[in-house]
C-alpha cells in the first residue's frame, strides 16, 4: 500500500514535469521522498536495459511467421518461416524451417531451407538441407550440408532483371568480381 501511493506520486511528478515517459529520465530534482519508489518501479526496466543489444529468440520459443530485423539476431528456438536480418546467429538448439536472408549468417543449429547471405559460417554442429547462396563461405568439419552452394550472393537478381543486355560486358564484370572475391576469401 505504502509503495503504491509513493509510486503514484512519482508518476504524477513525471507527467507534470516531463511530457515524455520513462521514469529513468526523471531529473535528480525530485524530492528524496520519491526516490525509493523510483528504484522499485525501475527494477524491471533496468533488467531490460541491461539486456538490450542483440535480439534473442530463446530455446523455449516457437515462432510461426516472418522475423525481420535491422539488427543482429540470436536464434536458439524454433522458427517456421523466413528470417531477415543483418548478423544472424543460429544456435545449436535452433530449428529453422524457411529461408534465412542476411549479411552474415552463423549456423550451429538445424535449417530446413535456404541460406542467402554475404558471409556464411557453418560450424561443426550445423545441419542444413537446402541451398546456400553466399559470397564467402566457411565450413567446419562435422557440418552437414545437403544442397547446392552457389557463390552468387547479390548477383542472381541482376541477371534476372537484365537478361537481354549485351552479354559480354556483364559476364566480364561478373568474372572480375568472382576472381576478386575468391582471392579475398582465400
Amino acid at each position: 500500500m505504502n509503495m503504491f501511493s509513493r509510486s503514484d506520486r512519482t508518476l504524477d511528478l513525471n507527467s507534470s514535469s516531463l511530457p515524455g515517459r520513462p521514469k529513468g529520465e526523471l531529473p535528480a530534482s525530485t524530492t528524496t521522498d520519491v526516490r525509493p519508489a523510483q528504484v522499485s518501479t525501475q527494477a524491471a526496466g533496468q533488467t531490460a536495459a541491461h539486456k538490450q543489444g542483440p535480439s534473442i529468440i530463446s530455446k523455449a520459443v516457437k515462432v510461426t511467421g516472418q522475423v525481420e530485423s535491422t539488427e543482429d539476431i540470436q536464434i536458439d528456438g524454433e522458427v517456421l518461416g523466413d528470417i531477415r536480418g543483418n548478423l544472424i546467429k543460429i544456435g545449436k538448439t535452433a530449428k529453422i524451417t524457411g529461408t534465412v536472408y542476411g549479411e552474415e549468417v552463423e549456423l550451429a543449429g538445424t535449417i530446413d531451407g535456404n541460406i542467402e547471405a554475404k558471409k556464411v559460417v557453418l560450424t561443426s554442429t550445423a545441419h542444413m538441407s537446402g541451398d546456400l547462396v553466399h559470397q564467402e563461405l566457411k565450413v567446419e568439419s562435422g557440418a552437414f550440408v545437403n544442397g547446392r552452394c552457389r557463390p552468387e550472393f547479390g548477383k542472381a537478381p541482376e541477371k534476372n532483371v537484365h537478361p537481354v543486355k549485351p552479354a559480354t560486358v556483364g559476364r566480364e564484370q561478373t568474372v572480375l568480381q568472382n576472381s576478386g572475391n575468391v582471392s579475398a576469401s582465400l
Binding site: D8, S58, G81
Partner: protein, 136 residues
Amino acid sequence: MLPRLGRNQTPHDTRIGGEETVAEIGKGLTITGRLNTTGEIHVHGKILGQIMAGRLFLATDGFMQGDLVANDVRIAGRFNGRIYGRNVLLDSSAEVTGRIFHNTIVVAKGARIDGRIPWRPPNYFETLEHMWEVQS
C-alpha cells in the same frame, strides 16, 4: 480504491524479473505471425500477430498488434488488440486499444486505455491456455 487492488499482490508479484529463458525482441526486430513459449518475452520491437507466453513485458518502445495470452503481462508500450492476462500491469507510458481480459489488474496513472477491461475468474485463463496449446 487503488490500494485495495494491491492488497494480496504487491507490485513485486506482477513484475517481470529475470528467469531461465528470456526471449528478447530487440528494437529493430519485427515478427509477423505467432510466437509461442512457456517462458518470458521482452518486446522492444514490433509484433504483428499472436503471442502466447508465460510472462510478457512490452517495453516503452515496443509495439504489438494482435492477441496476447500470458500469465503475467506488463505493458509499457503501445498495444492494439486483445490481452488475456491473469495478472496485468499497465505502466504510465502504456497505450492500449482493445480489450484486457484479466483476473487482477494494476493501472498506473497516465496509462491510456481505449476499450473494455473485462474481469474473468482464474479458471477462464486455464481453459484459454489449454485451447491455445491445442491450436498450435
